[in-house]
């Protein structure tokens, strides 16, 4: 389907030589390159595009600028796309949304007839008796609401983001914005001009600013040429500046790209939203804003055989009538809410064209044609300035009604910056005040509508920006005062209702008033109770009317009533574009490929990936058992590169450590390591590690894999206060490390070649030394986390792979076996070592978890000391203990509760079957009275099976610490 188009200069956006087509509701629609889906549908005389949210009323375009919800349609991929913005032809198959049956005859439209029983907020009044019945009703209400259907199969497209910087961002490329951009650029500023449409010029491209229609055309050509040729202006078209964030941080959406713009000054030339007249059935397809008719003609060359009626609340609507006339449309009448136009020439123009003019009159009711879904005629009544309606003057058949009750500044971006809207009774209009610093208004958003004044206003805004940037000292030009474009009361209540204030939410005059009658008097409460302004157009066309209605209903002024503020975004924005590429960095150690080659099962550890064990996950227990066996009887090797590493260097390094950690470090000998526990100011254990002293002024401290970033940050924060002479460097990634453990580990190291004396005397337990291992410069520490003779070897990360390879080949004859982090968890559990974060929680203090010994009581201060002391003096509420169970018992899991009678005494934090010990062992928080070895605790396992476990002394394995000291 297609229809004839107007000749140029009408249809400036379409390329008549490039036809396109698409399917809408199964019907093939022809259009041209440059058409939107909506314009092509209108050209095919297809005005019914959607069904409304609540009553499922037929709807067609209102603004044709993408500013309302009436043309939301469904693509195969996405719900809720605006037909006014979708390029015709890009989406071959489109459907309307929110109907049952067909778009033309929606079975849900029954709701429109039931509407009288569905007062505002009806869902608060029913559907809840008897108790619980809401969940039954909710299903139907949810199904009826909700607009489009999400396609659950689609995958995110690739989208990208880009930063841009500029001196002056000009938002809106209408006459004000073009003038502002040009003046700012001529003044030497780097200008970014942003406009949501595919063309420059804004209203100059469709609106007639004078009867002859020459003024805007000339200006458009001159300004566009100058702006596009100026090197200081970058232009972003089809780009929506969708929010204003602090310090002029502007997200600009252009297709699939999000530009994040940081501007020094921000000229807001975003224009204004034309306002509808509120009368019965003002939502029928065919009833549009004057600017929409202008766009239809000038942008798309879409014509109509049906007569047009213009409903004017200002002079500018007359110019739409002139435009329509020139386009060859039949203008059946102009109906003026006022006593006549301010410019009396307009009367003459209409008279010359034999167009009836009704003054002090309004359309009181619109009626459908025979289709039942499209405007067919309007009833014109006399009216007064207060909205009271008199006698019927005429019934005028028409297919299009173009209306303008005035304009509302496009206030959204200013409101994001905290600006307020203030009502001016003399002009019956809201204006913006209290703008954020560096935001300047220009043009109709600044309530200036007369073209020459708009241009001056644009230039003046640019000058103010230039002055703020110290690029000019030029003063402002003088400009005319704002003219009145708003009718004070374009609201005509009808006894039978259906005068829509909010098209998105299907709210009529009575709904707004009844909200106030119910006590929801504050505009915010009106919004929340009635949902006015909560739909896709976010109050663009409803806020002004709502403020007026509520002011009248509550006996306040419109200024006192106000409007609800606008929140970002300005227009609904794509989640996919906001999400962008969704970069998920993971960290791998230099040995990652080695682990993979050895068949490691990798698991996340913070942002790292670590081997859990090596082998088939189906035989997890077997793998772990074999690895543990190797460590206990031979030798194992584990990659511990993910452990945090922090270098502390400086005269006060020991003093710094002494203040950060609970133990004493001042007297720690060079060449020795010490266990280091970190508490926070609440006395809670938050991290642990080993501090190795390599020189008087040099410590190398480890931290947990997931905790090191916080530890490093805390260290810097504290030293910002303490001002100690110490350099703190996070060298986690610079160093990589392995732990070689097991009775044969010394042999492996010797086989690999080491220039240090590794004998028990030369390198005793807890010693640390720097030397060369297998030719690689290394830091060696004797540690005992897994409870065997063990060396932790730290080398520069570049050499880690070489170290691994040499140790593996040196260890081949000794049966060296890599082991993973889950095996390590078992081994350390056997040894009774806790893991901070697993065996501790957000309340664990050192005493509770058996770390009293690691807290120095002789030093004056450490972070958390006061709290630790207070906690230590209090009666303990729980204690972490070891427990053991026979291997036949139901296996407790980590997180299972320890019960004491009917009360929760604690929970299991670690639990494994120990093949070495042949029993189930674990750690659990228990009541202090049950914490002595020999006590029995009750653990509730899966399916509520309670098992009695014996509390045993730690460690489970090698209680005399003979093995790690070998």
């Amino acid at each position: 389907m297609s229809g004839p188009r107007l000749d140029a200069p009408f249809g400036r956006l379409i390329d008549r030589s490039c036809p396109t087509q698409f399917e809408f509701e199964g019907q093939v629609i022809q259009g041209f390159e440059g058409d939107t889906v909506a314009s092509a549908l209108l050209a095919a005389d297809h005005w019914l595009i959607s069904r409304s949210f609540k009553y499922h009323r037929p709807r067609g375009p209102l603004s044709l600028a993408g500013h309302d919800a009436n043309t939301l349609i469904q693509t195969p991929e996405a719900p809720n796309r605006l037909a006014e913005e979708l390029a015709a032809g890009n989406h071959p198959r489109l459907r309307a949304q929110n109907y049952l049956g067909s778009l033309a005859s929606d079975r849900y439209a029954l709701l429109d007839r039931l509407g009288r029983f569905l007062p505002v907020g009806f869902y608060y009044r029913a559907f809840f008796k008897p108790r619980g019945i809401w969940q039954f009703w909710e299903r139907f209400i949810r199904a009826a609401a909700g607009l489009g259907v999400a396609n659950l199969e689609v995958q995110p497209r690739y989208t990208d983001k880009q930063y841009l910087f500029c001196d002056v961002a000009v938002i809106g490329a209408g006459p004000a914005g073009l003038n502002a951009a040009l003046t700012a650029a001529q003044g030497g500023a780097d200008v970014l001009l942003i406009d949501e449409h595919p063309y420059l010029g804004g209203a100059l491209t469709y609106h007639r600013f004078d009867v002859e229609g020459t003024q805007s055309q000339d200006m458009l050509n001159t300004l566009c040429d100058a702006v596009t040729q100026h090197k200081g202006i970058r232009i972003l078209s089809r780009a929506t500046c969708n929010a204003w964030f602090s310090d002029h941080y502007l997200p600009v959406f252009q297709g699939d790209r999000l530009f994040k713009v940081r501007a020094k000054q921000c000229v807001l030339a975003s224009g204004s939203s034309e306002q509808p007249v509120v009368f019965r059935n003002n939502d029928l397809p065919g009833i549009v804003l004057c600017s929409a008719l202008d766009r239809m003609l000038c942008h798309y060359g879409v014509t109509s055989r049906a007569p047009v009626v213009v409903l004017a609340g200002n002079d500018s609507a007359y110019l739409t009538a002139v435009n329509a006339l020139e386009a060859g449309l039949t203008v059946a009448a102009v109906v003026d809410l006022r006593s006549g136009p301010g410019d009396t020439d307009l009367v003459t123009v209409l008279a010359n064209a034999n167009i009836p003019l009704y003054t002090n009159a309004t359309v009181y009711e619109a009626k459908t044609d025979s289709s039942g879904v499209r405007l067919g005629k309007v009833h014109v009544h006399t009216c007064a300035a207060d909205g009271s309606v008199g006698a019927l003057q005429a019934v005028i058949p028409c297919g299009i009604l173009a209306m303008s009750a005035g304009f509302m500044p496009a206030y959204q971006l200013a409101c994001h910056g905290g600006a307020q809207l203030e009502y001016h009774d003399d002009r019956s209009a809201f204006a913006l005040t209290r703008l954020p610093e560096g935001m300047l208004l220009a043009g109709s958003v600044n309530s200036i509508h007369e073209l020459a004044a708009v241009c001056v206003d644009g230039r003046n805004a640019a000058r103010r920006a230039l002055r703020a940037l110290s690029l000019t000292t030029d003063e402002d030009e003088t400009r005319h005062c704002p003219q009145t474009v708003n009718h004070p009361w374009p609201i005509f209540k009808h006894p039978r209702g259906r005068e829509f204030v909010d098209f998105d939410e299907d709210l009529q005059i009575k709904d707004i008033i009844n909200s106030a009658r119910l006590g929801y008097r504050d505009i915010q409460l009106v919004k929340r109770y009635s949902t006015v302004g909560m739909g896709p157009s976010q109050g663009r066309h409803s806020a002004l009317t709502t403020a007026r209605l509520i002011a009248k209903a509550t006996g306040r002024t419109v200024s006192e009533t106000g409007v609800t503020t606008a929140r970002p975004p300005v227009k609904p924005e794509s989640l996919g574009v906001l999400a962008g590429r969704r970069f998920h960095p993971i960290r791998t150690t230099p040995l990652h490929d080695r682990h993979r080659a050895l068949g490691a099962h990798m698991i996340p550890a913070g942002s790292w990936r670590r081997p859990a064990y090596y082998g088939d996950p189906k035989d997890r227990a077997g793998c772990i058992e074999a690895e543990a066996q190797a460590v206990r009887t031979g030798v194992g090797i584990i990659d511990v590169s993910t452990l945090g590493g922090i270098e502390l260097r400086g005269a006060h390094a020991a003093e710094f450590l002494n203040r950060m950690y609970t133990y004493g470090f001042l007297k720690q000998p060079v060449g020795k390591t010490r266990y280091a526990v970190l508490t926070n100011e609440q006395g809670v254990v938050i991290d642990d590690g080993v501090a190795a002293r390599f020189a008087e002024t040099h410590f190398y401290v480890s931290a947990t894999t997931t905790g090191v970033d916080r530890v490093y940050r805390d260290m810097q924060r504290w030293n910002a206060q303490w001002r100690l002479d110490v350099d703190i460097a996070n060298v986690t990634a610079a160093f990589s490390a392995v732990n070689v453990a097991g009775p044969l580990c010394r042999d492996v190291l010797l086989a690999a070649g080491c220039d240090l004396d590794l004998s028990p005397e030369g390198f005793p337990y807890l010693a640390c030394q720097e030397g060369r291992l297998a030719g690689i410069p290394a830091r060696l520490m004797r540690v005992g986390f897994v409870g065997e003779l063990g060396f932790e070897i730290h080398v520069p990360s570049l050499m880690a792979a070489a170290l691994w390879d040499r140790l593996m080949s040196a260890g081949e004859g000794f049966g060296i076996r890599p082991f993973g982090v889950e095996t390590q968890r078992l081994l350390r559990l056997e040894k009774g070592h806790i893991i901070v974060g697993q065996d501790t929680d957000g309340m664990s203090h050192p005493g509770e978890v058996g770390l009293d010994w690691a807290v120095s009581h002789r030093k004056p201060f450490f972070v958390g000391q006061r709290s630790v002391k207070i906690l230590a003096a209090q009666p303990r509420c729980r204690q972490l203990v070891g427990f053991a169970l026979s291997p036949a018992a139901p296996m407790p899991k980590e997180g299972h509760l320890v019960l004491r009678g009917r009360d929760i005494a604690g929970h299991v934090t670690s639990c494994e079957y120990s093949p070495t010990l042949g029993q189930i062992i674990g750690l659990a928080y228990v009541h202090p009275d049950d914490s002595g070895p020999g006590s029995t605790i009750t653990v509730r396992t899966d399916r509520d099976v309670c098992v009695a476990a014996n509390v045993v002394a730690l460690p489970f394995y090698d209680p005399d610490n003979l093995r790690q000291g070998l």
Binding site: P119, F127, V154, H416, R517, L518, Q838
Partner: protein, 415 residues
């Protein structure tokens, strides 16, 4: 269609004024037995229970802006009781019980919808923590269980089980999890309270607290001063600022918390889904909008303006969880100010002033506690300062006594 709606067929002739939910504005009186500062859910709930169950009706609720306009209006309406500590579980479970009957108690539909809440675990540490929460909940007869990937896939088929390099390992399925129309909760309480004689004064800001010998004697407002028998403060994000006016400090830090909502689509998601590792939760309202929220902003601030970086990261996580959301449209984002305690539990009960009662520290978890807060605070006020057992663990002194109620793990990003 329910028959209850037939009476509205009279159209404009229906006497809405006679059935108004809220009375019009009135003058402030000289004296009230109880002044409640803060006309959010907690404030009006306290007034409601005072009036209905304790016969105390000489009560003024003073609200600096409008009814339920702070965090009551801004929260994302998550109701749940799957906390970690016995104290927390007992308290929030009592709240859920009250919620279940609230529409009928009010004769006003708050649209309480028990859809269940699913929290995803992506690390074995979280699986352990979830098992503990499930066990604690079960102990107090809550309906919470740890479920595996397959059960998750059956529950929410459209969920991506391998998001963001963080495969889902298990889920905490909380059948009692629910949502409700948040505004309606405040309105229902305000309606019930004002019908019983409580005065709700909107646009009435408290600027000073008058006291003598450790007792509050009156409050100064922008509309004049009033004498009072006692004061309840229930001002959420501004708790520390108001306490400062009363002359004492609260251990609170205010952080902005943001949330956002998409254009409505037809229903596809029933439970509330949140991810512990991605700091993101997603739910679908009965209007069809998708509500997306996450953790608090990373820096303290008394400001409720939304920000771009948080929106980007939060939406990225939501798209990771539900890839098809990428084709949906974001309609609105907003922020509230949350008053965070170090242990993620509230501060309720007595204050350093004898007749000044605290309902503060509600951080990101205040909405779900509204009914039980109202009930317990009313008991506290009516008894002249006898702290109900249910809220005794949340006393302000716990921070001095080192007896915190740590709900950190059960709160982050799930609210």
């Amino acid at each position: 269609m329910p028959l209850g709606l037939l009476k509205y067929g009279r159209g404009d002739k229906y006497p809405y004024e006679q059935h108004a939910d809220l009375p019009g504005p009135t003058q402030l009186r000289d004296h009230y037995d109880v002044v409640i500062i803060g006309g959010g859910g907690h404030g009006v709930a306290t007034a409601y229970y005072l009036a209905k169950y304790h016969g105390i009706t000489n009560v003024a609720v003073l609200e600096k802006a409008y009814l339920g306009g702070g965090n009551t209006a801004r929260n994302t309406a998550v109701i749940r009781s799957n906390y970690l500590t016995p104290e927390g579980v007992r308290f929030y479970s009592a709240s859920v019980k009250l919620y279940e009957n609230l529409s009928n108690e009010f004769d006003f539909n708050i649209m309480y919808s028990q859809r269940g809440q699913l929290t995803l675990a992506h690390t074995d540490a979280t699986v352990r923590a979830f098992r503990q929460r499930a066990e604690v909940n079960k102990h107090f007869r809550g309906r919470t269980e740890l479920i595996d990937r397959q059960a998750i896939a059956e529950l929410v088929p459209c969920l991506n089980l391998d998001p963001a390099e963080l495969p889902v390992l298990a889920g905490l399925w909380h059948r009692d999890g629910a949502t409700a129309r948040h505004d309606a909760v405040a309105w229902g309480y305000a309606r019930g309270a004002t019908q019983r004689g409580v005065e709700l004064h909107q646009l009435t800001e408290v600027t000073g607290i008058e006291q003598s010998q450790g007792r509050v004697t009156g409050v100064v407002t922008n509309r004049g001063r009033v004498n009072c028998g006692c004061v309840v403060q229930a001002v959420a994000g501004h708790s520390a600022l108001l306490a400062d006016k009363a002359g004492f400090a609260l251990p609170l830090v205010a952080y902005p918390l943001q949330a956002m909502v998409t254009l409505p689509v037809k229903p596809f998601l029933n439970p509330l889904v949140s991810s512990s590792a991605l700091h993101c939760y997603v739910q679908q309202t009965s209007r069809g909008e998708i509500v997306i929220g996450g953790g608090s902003d990373p820096y303290p601030l008394y400001q409720s303006r939304a920000s771009l970086p948080l929106k980007e990261s939060l939406i990225a996580s939501a798209v990771d969880l539900f890839p098809f959301l990428s084709e949906m449209r974001l309609l609105r984002q907003w922020a509230g100010i949350t008053d965070m305690t170090t242990d993620y539990s509230p501060i309720m009960g007595l204050s350093p002033l004898e007749n000044y009662y605290l309902d503060a520290g509600w951080g990101t978890w205040g909405f779900k506690a509204t009914p039980i807060c109202g009930q317990t605070m009313a008991q506290l006020v009516a008894s002249g300062g006898q702290v109900p057992d249910l809220i005794a663990p949340f006393a302000l002194e716990r921070f001095d006594r080192f007896q915190q109620v740590n709900e950190m793990g059960a709160t982050a990003a799930s609210h």
